[in-house]
């Protein structure tokens, strides 16, 4: 983290008068308080509206427990698949140069720009009754749409880019000198990856995984299209929140929602630590070539 040269100095040439600063800070914080803090606080206040007893009871509903279980299962299927893809893709893209690279990166980012509803719809078009494989699947008694496999597939789609898009720039910035040195010294390809590359990208992996996981557990639109909303069997936590809310059991809906809000806060905390660590690794890498020279704080 670069400290600011003019942090708090009052040199009027590059800073604003005190009243302008106060006004800008107040406006920005007011905006964030209104749009971020207020909703966040509201989740927990509404969840505890009927007291702790009701809160805990709402979380122990069989349908809610089933939803929690399904959400965990979905995340356990999606995150490793996209983690493996992300590492493999980052290796190919960041460590080698080949034609069509930027097109490939754009295509990897594609799921982020597709509406969640469309992401769900495409799987209905493939595996649904009227879709490509629908009749065949029905003849063989395999259910994908309105069942767990459909939920997993749609979630894999929406969480597809997270790990890859974090690792590609990180690995590109680290170059391949260290790996080449390891190979020259006789390490095998996998040894090179696990001993040399992995320590450099582990915080990037954590960053990608934690965001991928948050999205996998919280996805609503895509999952809503393919789930079929069968209570107790194809409802993930967000869908359970929707059902409870539409049934006017607000306190229960917010109690279940508060689990997801807690997940979001934990995600933000881990993400902040990971970002800080990544910056440390990057600045250490930048500093390396200069170690022979005297560190110079010019001026």
């Amino acid at each position: 983290m670069v400290m600011h040269k003019n942090g708090d100095s009052n040199s009027s040439s590059v800073s604003e008068p005190a009243w302008v600063r106060c006004l800008l800070i107040t406006t920005a914080l007011g905006f964030l308080a209104l749009f971020l803090l207020l909703p966040l606080a509201a989740v927990f206040v509404e969840a505890l509206d009927k007291g702790w007893q009701a809160y805990l009871a709402a979380l122990q509903e069989p349908d809610t427990l089933a939803a929690i279980w399904l959400t965990l299962l979905t995340a356990v299927c999606c995150v490793p698949a996209n983690l493996f893809f992300g590492v493999v893709a980052a290796w190919a893209i960041a460590k080698f140069s080949f034609p069509g690279k930027s097109l490939l990166i754009t295509l990897i980012d594609l799921p982020f720009s597709v509406s969640p509803v469309v992401s769900g719809l495409i799987y209905v078009l493939i595996f649904g009754l009227q879709g490509w494989f629908g009749p065949w699947l029905q003849a063989h008694g395999i259910k994908i749409i309105f069942a767990v496999p459909g939920i997993v597939l749609a979630t894999v789609f929406v969480t597809f880019p997270f790990v890859a898009r974090e690792l590609i720039p990180l690995m590109e910035s680290q170059g391949r000198d260290e790996e080449e040195a390891a190979l020259t010294l006789g390490a095998s390809g996998l040894q090179t990856f696990f001993r040399v590359t992995f320590p450099n990208i582990k915080w990037g992996i954590l960053y990608g995984v934690i965001l991928c996981n948050a999205r996998a557990m919280g996805e609503f639109g895509a999952v809503s299209v393919v789930s079929g909303h069968v209570r107790g069997s194809t409802n993930t936590i967000p869908l359970q929140v929707e059902i409870l809310y539409n049934e006017y059991s607000y306190a229960a809906a917010f109690a279940v929602a508060s689990l997801l809000a807690l997940l979001a806060l934990v995600t933000l905390a881990i993400k902040t630590v990971a970002e800080w660590k990544i910056r440390q690794v990057l600045s250490a890498a930048e500093a390396k070539p200069e170690t022979e020279r005297e560190p110079c704080y010019e001026r």
């Binding site: 966040l40 990897i108 809503s224 967000p238 979001a264 933000l268």
Partner: protein, 276 residues
């Protein structure tokens, strides 16, 4: 492999990793997306036009794209302000606020949806003050915009922030030495440097808001012709087993996202060019 230059030959694994990347990408993303176009291609041109330009569908485009445009514009201005305040000023709790800016990325959209709906409902925390003054937010198009502002809030902040951090204040000092006042320096020196990032953030926010579903449906009221967004209309068609209609509208949405993605890529190229 060998054709891509000798510089690559030292590190192993290019063939298998690129192969797996293309394979998994095709399996998960490209083939499923192409299903949408194949399905649309089975419609005749007339069927397609009728499906995507029915009055109710046109109204949903107006609501979706109009609200997204306004939400992205509001975030464009306030996002720059937040980025500026976070980079340039020091105040207690700054790091915490900085981390919280990403909340809309981490908070599931359904949670955001029911929370915003309850805050702005007639007896909610904000609704009870706004309603008597004649400002209805929940269950109106205004509510759609509020939800869109929430979910697209981080984009402009996060694209402008690194540019401001990189910006050398010596340039501002130089401008001021040459006689510019603070406002002139901002307008002529700082602002043009931020502009490409600001536009990129605006486009990202707009793209996200256009496709958003979960946080909006709870607060929108979902009245056909008034407050019905296009993604919801796709789901409605699907529930009525109108697969052709749903597919046709989804194709329009997908084409819109492709155009946005392309312009975002061009904007990013422009800002990189600008930075050099």
């Amino acid at each position: 492999m060998g054709t891509f230059g000798h510089k690559n030959s030292v590190l192993p694994g290019f063939g298998p990793t690129l192969g797996y990347t293309v394979f998994y990408l095709s399996l998960v993303v490209l083939i499923p997306l192409s299903a949408l176009f194949f399905k649309t291609a089975t419609l005749s041109w007339d069927q397609f036009l009728v499906a995507v330009s029915a009055p109710r569908v046109l109204a949903s485009y107006r609501v979706t794209f109009g609200s997204a445009l306004l939400a992205a514009a509001i975030n464009g201005v306030l996002g720059v302000l937040v980025a500026w305040v976070l980079v340039r000023y020091r105040f207690p709790g700054r790091k915490l606020i900085d981390a919280l800016v990403d909340l809309p990325f981490a908070l599931p959209t359904a949670v955001a949806g029911i929370t915003l709906a309850s805050i702005y409902s007639p007896n909610g925390w904000l609704g009870r003050f706004l309603e008597p003054r004649g400002i209805k937010v929940a269950f109106t198009p205004l509510g759609i915009m509020v939800a869109m502002i929430f979910i697209s809030l981080p984009f402009v902040v996060r694209t402008v922030q690194p540019v401001l951090e990189e910006l050398d204040q010596e340039i501002e000092e130089a401008a001021s030495c040459l006689g510019a006042n603070r406002w002139q320096t901002f307008r002529r020196v700082t602002f043009p440097t931020m502009l490409p990032a600001m536009l990129t953030g605006f486009a990202l926010a707009f793209a996200r808001a256009v496709g958003e579903y979960g946080s909006i449906i709870f607060i929108a009221g979902n009245m056909p012709m008034v407050s019905e967004i296009t993604p919801l209309l796709i789901i409605t068609k699907l529930e009525q087993y109108d697969y052709a209609g749903a597919t046709a509208i989804a194709t329009v949405m997908l084409l819109a996202s492709f155009i946005l993605l392309l312009s975002i890529n061009l904007l990013q190229k422009w800002s990189r060019h600008f930075a050099e």
